[in-house]
């Protein structure tokens, strides 16, 4: 037998994850996005420690433009330090973005997996349910939830999650439909795997790539969503987030444009960075786009 006698230097075993990272690294835009994202996350974690000005305190005259009196980004209509607000708000904004994306993915994967795996009447019922949510105007629906149940952070997160899980559910279902017909699923069945194991340890890991990409993009859209709700005043006024800064300064948009422009830019850059990373993930995880 030839493969016993031949000693060819074998390439070291690389997990699919390591290979995806390799692909991702070659994508310059995605790496730029990732770098920006890391900076923003670091700023959110360490910023308030390095720059300890209280974001809720009136520290100077209202509407001081950026750069004056040592306040790098100026002050808002109540004389609060915008830089400090930005750093503290980043935490809330990112947490809402991640948490809402998590809610989205949790609901979406559960619904999509059950529909795609069991098929038949279950699929029919779940997909009609999904379509029902799809046709609801998302912003309006989340506004209703938030104004009915109060504008606390958990409720805002929940509201964003509830209106945006449908895309994940449809992607998950589509992937499950494709992968449940694979030979290795039949082989797993033939070695006695019960339904739950087939669903979550055999089919789900193989359907993850598009779901991961979608989830990454979900973080971005959740941040935008939160900004939208905050702009309309549907937010907790006692907790500073980027959207909330814009919302509370919106009456002064003409007199002191920077008060809305700066947090707006922060949101824009963050969402752009997330999109770039999401795109990079898509290229890295989608075998059809791989340059071999």
């Amino acid at each position: 037998m030839s493969d016993e006698t031949l000693h060819i230097p074998v390439e070291k075993a690389r997990s699919p994850l390591a290979e995806a990272w390799e692909m991702f690294r070659q994508n310059h835009l995605a790496m730029v996005g990732l770098a920006i994202l890391i900076l923003i996350v670091l700023g959110a974690i360490f910023g308030p420690l390095i720059y300890p000005t209280d974001p809720y305190e009136m520290v100077w005259a209202p509407f001081s433009p950026p750069g004056q009196e040592g306040f790098l980004l100026g002050t808002d209509y109540l004389g609060r330090d915008i830089l400090s607000q930005l750093l503290n708000g980043a935490r809330v904004t990112l947490i809402i973005g991640l948490a809402a994306a998590f809610v989205t993915v949790a609901i979406g994967i559960t619904v999509g997996a059950l529909a795609g795996f069991y098929g038949g009447a279950i699929e029919e019922a779940l997909m009609r349910f999904t379509e029902f949510f799809q046709v609801l105007p998302t912003l309006l629906f989340s506004m209703v939830i938030v104004s009915l149940f109060g504008a606390s952070l958990p409720m805002i997160t929940f509201a964003i999650g509830v209106v945006s899980w449908t895309a994940v559910a449809r992607i998950t279902r589509a992937e499950f439909l494709r992968i449940r017909e694979m030979d290795y699923v039949m082989a797993s069945r033939a070695s006695g795997a019960p339904g739950m194991r087939l669903m979550f340890t055999v089919i789900l890991p193989n359907s993850l790539p598009p779901i991961i990409v979608q989830s990454a993009l979900m973080v971005g859209s959740a941040i935008l969503f939160e900004a939208g709700l905050s702009f309309l005043g549907l937010t907790d006024p006692n907790i500073v987030s980027w959207g909330q800064i814009i919302g509370s300064n919106r009456q002064y948009i003409l007199e002191a444009g920077y008060t809305v422009t700066i947090p707006g830019l922060a949101i824009f850059v963050t969402v752009l960075a997330i999109s770039l990373v999401g795109d990079g993930l898509n290229d890295a995880l989608n075998p059809k786009l791989r340059k071999r």
């Binding site: 699919p16 290795y184 033939a190 070695s191 795997a193 193989n206």
Partner: protein
């Protein structure tokens, strides 16, 4: 002795657009302890369906056992609960598939996939299962198993993957191994290695093997007894040597004469390679009260078209379902 597996008058119906078709029509056979039998026939004759029925894996909502019994150690598998079937699958009866390239889960290492079965059925701990997995890789003759155990399926060749499939199938020392065309997708030298491996493992473990194939060479190499299927029915059964020496059904005869003989120099006198003219009838024509092979048979008579031939015992061990079995 009571046979290990006894299939009695099995009828499997498949829902098609045109209606319900019997893909397996009144099939009976027995498999003894440690015995190796082969199912032979063209594509679409119901060989794989038989295997899936034994495993309890008929396509849900499409195929079902309409009547008959599958007795495994006296227990009727057609009436067993899902939980019981899951316990049996991979543990007491396991199966390897035709396509080694796609039958392994691409996101787990081969070690994880072997260990998984051991943990699920034998209750082994993580470490014990891993050690056992390495031993199994060694048993299926994967060189350097200690290192290959961390390989992902894409890092292995087709032959190696099929060995891994065999390792998974044999991990729990099953009583029956069903091999559904295990070598069809592999090239000839690898085929021979896989057959060697299966034969040796069978000798060591005493596992009974049901091999499904359309390759007469594989049958001659692997099995003691063969069952020839045509259009969902058993047309001939008997010891491999007897059947090949003297087929008692025109279909078997046709299949055997399809196998080319390798000759060193092609001369004019060499034996003409024959074929069985025509194709297997569509599912819609299954189950009629006639010989379904009659349309392709060189010996067809009026009787063949009007009644299904009964299974007749010939020469003590061979069974043939042909009106003209005596003359063939």
């Amino acid at each position: 002795m009571e046979p290990l597996l006894k299939v009695e008058n099995l009828r499997i119906e498949l829902k098609t657009r045109a209606g319900v078709a019997p893909v397996i029509d009144d099939l009976s056979f027995e498999l003894g302890q440690g015995e190796s039998i082969s199912f032979v026939g063209e594509s679409g004759c119901g060989k794989s369906m038989t295997a899936l029925a034994i495993m309890g894996l008929l396509p849900e909502g499409i195929g079902r056992v309409a009547s008959g019994r599958i007795l495994f150690g006296g227990e009727d598998l057609t009436a067993a609960s899902d939980r019981r079937l899951r316990d049996i699958r991979g543990n007491e009866i396991s199966m390897i598939f035709q396509e080694p390239m796609t039958s392994l889960n691409p996101v787990y290492t081969v070690g994880e996939q072997i260990a998984e079965v051991l943990r699920a059925h034998q209750g082994l701990g993580q470490r014990a299962a891993w050690t056992m997995a390495a031993e199994l890789l060694d048993a299926v003759r994967i060189p350097n198993p200690g290192r290959r155990i961390d390989d992902y399926p894409f890092q292995m060749s087709g032959g190696q993957r099929q060995r891994v499939m065999i390792a998974i199938a044999l991990a729990c020392k099953p009583k029956i191994l069903i091999a559904d065309e295990p070598t069809t997708a592999l090239d000839v030298t690898v085929q021979a290695q896989i057959f060697d491996l299966l034969r040796d493992l069978r000798a060591q473990t005493g596992t009974s093997i049901i091999m499904i194939t359309h390759d007469m060479g594989a049958v001659a190499e692997m099995a003691e007894r063969m069952i020839v299927m045509y259009a969902g029915r058993k047309v001939e059964e008997g010891p491999v040597a007897d059947v090949i020496a003297h087929a008692r059904h025109p279909y078997t005869h046709g299949l055997i004469s399809c196998v080319p003989h390798i000759v060193a120099n092609l001369t004019e006198e060499r034996e003409e390679l024959t074929e069985v003219p025509g194709i297997v009838p569509g599912l819609g024509e299954f189950g009629q009260d006639m010989c379904l092979f009659s349309a392709r048979c060189p010996r067809v008579t009026e009787k063949c078209r009007s009644a299904r031939p009964p299974e007749a015992m010939l020469g003590g061990s061979q069974v043939s379902a042909c009106w003209h079995a005596e003359e063939v």
